[in-house]
Symmetry: C2
Subunit: 350 residues, 2 copies
Amino acid sequence: MPVTLKELAARANVHPSTISRVANNDPGLRIATGTRSRIEALLRETGYQPNGIARGLKLRQTNVLAVVIPDVTNPFFAALFRGVEDVAAPRGFNVLLCNTDGLPERQRSHLQSLQARRVDGVIIASSFLKDPSVRDLRGQKRPFVLVNRFSDEGEDPFVGSDDLLGGQLATAHLIDLGHTRIGHLAGKSTVSTGMLRRRGYLAAHTAAGLVADPGLVVEAGYTEESGAAAARHLLSVPDPPTAVFAVTDMVALGTADVARQMGFRIPEDLAIIGYNDIPLASRVSPGITTMHVPIHEFGSVAGRLLLDQIENDEPAQRRVRFTPDLIVRESTVAGLTRSGRIARSNSSAE
Amino acid sequence: MPVTLKELAARANVHPSTISRVANNDPGLRIATGTRSRIEALLRETGYQPNGIARGLKLRQTNVLAVVIPDVTNPFFAALFRGVEDVAAPRGFNVLLCNTDGLPERQRSHLQSLQARRVDGVIIASSFLKDPSVRDLRGQKRPFVLVNRFSDEGEDPFVGSDDLLGGQLATAHLIDLGHTRIGHLAGKSTVSTGMLRRRGYLAAHTAAGLVADPGLVVEAGYTEESGAAAARHLLSVPDPPTAVFAVTDMVALGTADVARQMGFRIPEDLAIIGYNDIPLASRVSPGITTMHVPIHEFGSVAGRLLLDQIENDEPAQRRVRFTPDLIVRESTVAGLTRSGRIARSNSSAE
DNA sequence: TAGGCTAGCGCAATCGTTTGTTCATCGGCA
DNA sequence: TGCCGATGAACAAACGATTGCGCTAGCCTA
């Protein structure tokens, strides 16, 4: 059992409060040098660590953050988490990781648990932003930041990419390559990323004077499996597309698998572009052309926003949006180097 | 600000303790049905959630676990974490994730912080098991479980694979294929996985009546970069090996990259086998032959061991060791299917 | 009608810190 | 000698929940 203030007080023949002030380096503290050194020696000797629970109760601050994501096994979210922890740890915060598996009830129970635990702030990069549990969060004055996906309800702090532009750039790349029948494996239209990237897809068509065939847009979810299923469907139509824009790299990977199985050569028969530039995208063969976004920075910026909100006690209603960069690999252009080519780099904040 | 017991007590005209007993469904509680229903209505209406901090202070239990790993961005550790969370969440525990980046000082500061926070248990899958911080953990009666790597100090609870056997099986596979000059990109000899897999490598040679060339064993660390560097070195010797056993899949991946750059065809000029069977190993081309270990189960079993230790308050000094399975892919045998072949499956516990 | 039993709650200590306030002591100065 | 201002440290009230114990009615029984 770790040593307590009271025990130390008994050993040093002083009151617990005196030990506390010495341990916390109370600036306005007047104390005899003898007493101080006696206490300091005791502190060092016992390696006293104040009980964080008791401290949290008194100070109403736990120094704990939480990150809520679908699945840390997905490299996108793993990188995101690292971004958060990398700014949190130096500031003395620990970070809870909560996986929802995309299940609303798991998100809800996690959020409840976090609330009971009085975590100082929450970073949410899962779905179900319109869930009552998220509204509760807004209702409580518990600070939180949305990442990657945002909700149109309220002006929640947000960090993510410019998905409209990203969808547009991705599609424009395919158009530049001469494609005219371009499919889209879309995200859910209820999720900001899904809706905006789809809009970008359409905008690129319009800008190029093309009309998008509505029959070539299929909702594909976000996992490799769901992407594969949707791709199978999309590639089975009578006049299949010669290129597809997949809403995420995972979906693109599923698509590549299915396309190969169905006898499509990539990129000759089917060009594929993804989104996010997860590490896996550059490792598979052929490498997946994709829109690069700074995933780690999503996390670190969100973490900073959250910590500022906590420490300065200010609302910090900011929205940070990074500009995605096109990375061209073999899944759209044959005969490239493996690492891909970066087009340009940028970021903006409102 | 969330509602407290005291406030509810005032609204229901009872003492806080009565509310507490109703909320906690105190079994031996005698209470008038009218009072009970009045309180229950109030609880539902306000959505009362007991303050976890205060609760933790009184009950001396936080319902928080921590997982300490080098880097969650490494798919091995991400899967491990999921295993832990999947058993912890249903039991009402939240899980802190601490990345050390393989830095002893970060491990130390994390462990200190966890101790101050009075987490109920810690799962350690990082290096530096002989660090004072780990000894402290043993000294405190705070429950913990080692995963993947263990220390020869004491009989700490442990979950991992049979690394000696794994190293032996991996090397035997290469020998079976006719290789006689087999290199080993080894882990650190101070780490159990490194030492045991290396011993297995040697044992397989002995069993086959071969002598291992000490010049073909190079320490390679555990990351892709360090593996690549070591591989470059190993493949530059006058009479390079025709096959290598890499201590982990990440090292194997780095090796494959370097080998290709140096003009080796895989597997014709150089066969490569890794260890762990991370998802990436089956996705790259050529697929990496490897020793499969149940990573997710490492986490779930470790979590269960830890939770039993916490809830039953028993030491639970157990060591669980899984038998690794050989998965053959194209990096050792040309012309296989992509998914690989599983040899057999098993697990044992002391 | 007195005594005892029980149902139904309230009391108060406790967990370990933090922090505003009070209190005693001592030296200096008039 | 008497008073005053520092100085150095103790006091005590929080923070919010849990829990063993005690207390007060009311009812039953003898």
